[in-house]
């Protein structure tokens, strides 16, 4: 299992495809619902597995949505309590976006974060060059405006 939450299933409700593939998902709404796997992944919670060492408590999630063409951050939420979120402000129509989430949690009472989710493996994802890593985030495209 990948160390990243990226291995999680990223689902765009109201969109034709899941967001896990590199190809962009097409949404039917300007306020898509984004969903992701809970943290820690279930496999890390199995009792008796000697490699399970995660001690995460008070888990929440940070979400970022970037416009794909200029990497501009257009939507940001921190400490979301659930593994899903309906975008609160309408996004621009007919625009390609990249989105990513990461877990925020506590380890022995100290605040910690996980890696931003990615559609690539950890070796590809953990790179020192910003903001190119956004190329590895899941992609979706918004529909035309309702009047179009």
């Amino acid at each position: 299992m990948n160390r990243l939450l990226a291995a999680a299933l990223l689902v765009l409700a109201g969109c034709v495809k899941t967001g896990l593939e590199q190809e962009e998902a097409i949404c039917t709404t300007l306020r898509p619902k984004l969903e992701w796997q809970t943290f820690p992944p279930e496999a890390y919670l199995k009792k008796g597995a000697d490699w399970v060492v995660i001690e995460a408590t008070k888990v929440s999630y940070d979400l970022r949505i970037y416009r794909a063409d200029d990497f501009e951050l257009v939507y940001s939420r921190d400490a979301l309590p659930a593994a899903g979120h309906v975008v609160e402000e309408p996004l621009q129509p007919k625009t390609v976006y990249r989105w990513t989430v990461r877990p925020r949690f506590q380890v022995r009472g100290l605040p910690r974060v996980g890696e931003w989710s990615s559609v690539a493996g950890v070796e590809t994802h953990r790179r020192s060059l910003l903001p190119r890593e956004q190329d590895l985030y899941a992609t979706f495209k918004t529909p035309p405006a309702p009047s179009d």
Binding site: Y44, F71, F105, L110, P111, R112, V113, G114, S128, L129
Partner: protein, 272 residues
């Protein structure tokens, strides 16, 4: 052989070898973090000034630089096609380069800046970078976020009290390695190409008693979008560039803080 030509050949070799120069080290473990004690942030001994390619100015200089770039381009295009293993391709590459040569010369003459405007722009940029003091901003952002978000015990080693200084067990050298305006690698033969802001920061965590390096990492920011000519960046006192460089500094400083104090990766599954 000029620096530009060497840089071009190096870029070609790196691209061909698929060498990954941007991989990040794993973040420190929780056990390592717990062993650091209070951390004192210090500036590197020799901070570097901002850099940018000086604009080519004046019709005659533009003509000459265009010719030089044309000649360099001929060598690299021909060399690259031969290195790729195609002698016939090399011949075509040479023909292409010969055709490109006069275009480079004429282009150089027409894209050269007015000398007075170029000098003024360079002065504005130098003044802006001096005023912005991005190295101090980087350390301030890092310290504030480490205290607030990671709840880490971090002090500014230069300005803290004597008592705080004595308590510091680990020093973090944090500074800007390189910053300024940069062109795309394949645009180095263009006279006055569009430039984009870039920055590289380095962090080095050192145990104070035996100078052992506990962690070292570099973060870079670079984008291929939103380029403007140097003289355009200098418009209105370089206010647009000042804002962008500030945001880049905050982004890299915040990200470095997370890498050092907050990032907690899941352990690798041994069944993989």
């Amino acid at each position: 052989m000029s620096v530009r030509l060497l840089a071009g050949l190096l870029a070609l070799c790196l691209a061909a070898s698929g060498c990954d120069q941007y991989s990040l080290p794993d973040p420190p473990s929780e056990k390592e973090r717990a062993s650091w004690g209070p951390v004192g942030v210090v500036a590197p001994r020799a901070p570097r000034p901002a850099s940018w390619p000086d604009p080519v100015s004046g019709w005659c200089t533009g003509l000459a630089v265009g010719a030089l770039h044309g000649a360099e381009g001929m060598l690299v295009i021909t060399g690259a096609t031969i290195v790729a293993g195609f002698l016939v391709g090399g011949a075509f590459g040479l023909m292409f380069a010969v055709l490109l040569f006069p275009v480079q010369i004429v282009g150089g003459a027409f894209t050269a800046e007015d000398p007075a405007r170029a000098d003024f722009a360079v002065g504005v940029l130098a003044e802006m970078f001096a005023r912005a003091d991005l190295g101090t901003r980087l350390r301030r952002t890092f310290i504030e976020r480490a205290r607030q978000e990671a709840r880490a015990t971090v002090v500014d080693f230069e300005s803290c009290s004597e008592k705080e200084r004595e308590s510091v067990q680990t020093l973090l050298e944090l500074g800007i390695d390189e910053y300024g305006l940069y062109g795309k690698p394949w645009e180095i033969w263009t006279v006055n190409p569009p430039l984009r802001p870039g920055m590289s920061i380095r962090a080095r965590l050192v145990r104070r008693d035996d100078r052992r390096v506990l962690y070292e990492s570099t973060l870079r920011y670079g984008t291929e979008k939103g380029g403007m000519k140097l003289v355009e960046w200098a418009d209105q006192g370089a206010a647009l560039l000042e804002g962008k460089m500030g945001r880049i500094t905050d982004l890299l400083g915040g990200r470095m803080m997370e890498e050092i104090f907050m990032l907690h990766l899941l352990p690798r599954d041994p069944r993989e």
